[in-house]
């Protein structure tokens, strides 16, 4: 065999070929090949069963308002920091109306759909993209009361958001709390992205903060915050376009602080940032080159 490989170029050609093939395989495995791990239970949960029948005659729908007896949503769009910002003020009568959904109703890797498609499939009134859990192998995934992944992120990049069954937000560090230790808090959702923008009414980031400290300061953003019991703010900003520069995490945190949020948490942004309201995408999602909605693994939504 040594004699075979001692001929000029033979080893080189074979090794280069192997290296190229393995390189392509890893890229496909990471970005393309769908891996379904668990289907979402479609049986209604106890809280869903408890949801009262909707009186459809009392529903008010305009371009920027949705109102019925359980859900009240007001959309406000304005310019700040050379960026278009979309703010949804959400008031609910029960935490059961604050939900999440997974693409294809399946937990797994590289299983994606557009935010608008997932939202439409679940009759969402308002939806934003979630934490794109399916792009990573680490970080707790707990949705609508079901644990899908219990692998904690390592310290330093591990702030997660817990939404309990009462609809209250709290931020914790995954590396310091095993998922079992959170069960006494009655978790309804856990998001694993971050960082926390506001905690106890105080801004938790500064002008130098960035996700993993390596991306650009201004980006399209998605984040959610809580003002009081069952009263929430969803914010999505445009960015990476000539019309909108995007927001830094600090600017985003300031928006939540100005709206009196006691807790606010950053979700996946960039090309994922999408806000869907009354059957339409209302922001300008972009991959940086053109306006185009990206496929994501999960959404946060209000609806039935």
């Amino acid at each position: 065999m040594i004699k075979f490989f001692s001929k000029p170029y033979r080893w080189t050609v074979i090794f280069t070929l192997l290296l190229t093939m393995s390189f392509i395989f890893v890229l496909l495995d990471t970005f393309v090949i769908p891996k379904s791990i668990q289907s979402v239970e479609t049986e209604p949960t106890d809280t869903e069963k408890a949801a009262p029948e909707l009186n459809k005659s009392a529903v008010v729908i305009t371009d920027n308002i949705y109102k019925d007896e359980n859900i009240k949503i007001t959309i406000e769009t304005y310019r700040e920091y050379d960026t278009t910002i979309y703010v949804a003020d959400v008031q609910l009568t029960d935490a059961a109306y604050l939900k999440t959904a997974l693409a294809g109703n399946t937990y797994g890797r590289n299983i994606t759909e557009k935010t608008s498609a997932i939202a439409a499939a679940h009759n969402a009134v308002l939806a934003v993209n979630g934490d794109y859990y399916g792009f990573r192998d680490y970080g707790y995934v707990l949705r609508n009361g079901t644990v899908y992944r219990n692998i904690a992120r390592s310290a330093g990049d591990d702030e997660a958001l817990l939404v309990d069954e009462e609809g209250n937000f709290s931020v914790f560090h995954e590396s310091q709390a095993g998922i079992e230790s959170l069960y006494n808090k009655n978790p309804w959702q856990i998001f694993s992205f971050g960082p926390a923008l506001v905690k106890n009414g105080q801004i938790m980031v500064d002008s130098t903060s960035e996700i993993s400290g390596k991306s650009m300061r201004s980006n399209p953003r998605t984040a959610i915050g809580q003002i009081s019991s069952l009263h929430y703010i969803f914010i999505v900003s445009d960015g990476r376009t000539n019309e909108s520069a995007g927001l830094s995490l600090f600017e985003l945190a300031q928006e939540f602080k100005e709206k009196d949020c006691i807790t606010a948490y950053n979700l996946d942004g960039g090309g994922s940032s999408t806000m869907y309201f009354n059957g339409e995408v209302i922001n300008n999602p972009t991959d940086g080159r053109r306006i185009k909605e990206r496929e994501v693994s999960d959404i946060v939504y209000c609806g039935y």
Binding site: F5, S6, F15, L27, T30, F135, I211, S212, K214, M216
Partner: protein, 151 residues
């Protein structure tokens, strides 16, 4: 990367080694260029793995072969040199490719368990290559051959 330097001209060791060193330096420059071009399309997001990947060909490749050229140029005539050359270059190629791949995944905000395979494979190949090189040098010394540079 190793394709263009795979043919060994043992009759002119210095020329051969010079070609290898220059190729590695060119690969280093290409690695720096790739990192900067990738940053433009990655919305300014950078990864240390991709930023520093040029060090593998620059130091692991160029510097090591420069030392061979300066200290042991006649080792190129040894029968085991081809084996060292193939194995060592493959190690540098595996490490550089692994670093590039890790950089792509870092920038995208994801990871893969397979990137570790490149570092392990690269490390093993380099260790094996250096052991073979050491064996060649010791063999020369035992035979009483001079390994000094022949100009």
């Amino acid at each position: 990367m190793t394709l263009s330097i795979a043919a060994i001209d043992s009759k002119r060791p210095k020329c051969q080694l010079r070609r290898t060193i220059i190729t590695y330096w060119l690969v280093s420059i290409a690695a720096i260029a790739v990192d900067n071009i990738y940053a433009i399309f990655g919305h300014g997001v950078r990864s240390p793995a991709m930023t520093w990947m040029f060090l593998y060909p620059l130091l692991g490749g160029g510097l090591v072969f420069l030392l061979i050229k300066l200290l042991f140029p006649q080792s190129i005539k040894a029968s085991g040199y081809r084996l060292f050359y193939n194995v060592y270059n493959s190690g540098i190629a595996a490490l550089t490719t692994g670093s590039f791949l890790k950089g792509i995944l870092d920038i995208a905000g994801t990871s893969s368990p397979y990137t570790a395979v490149y570092y392990i494979t690269g490390g093993l190949f380099i260790a094996a290559g250096l052991i073979i090189l050491l064996y060649i040098i010791l063999q020369y010394k035992n035979k009483g051959n001079s390994l000094k540079c022949v100009n």
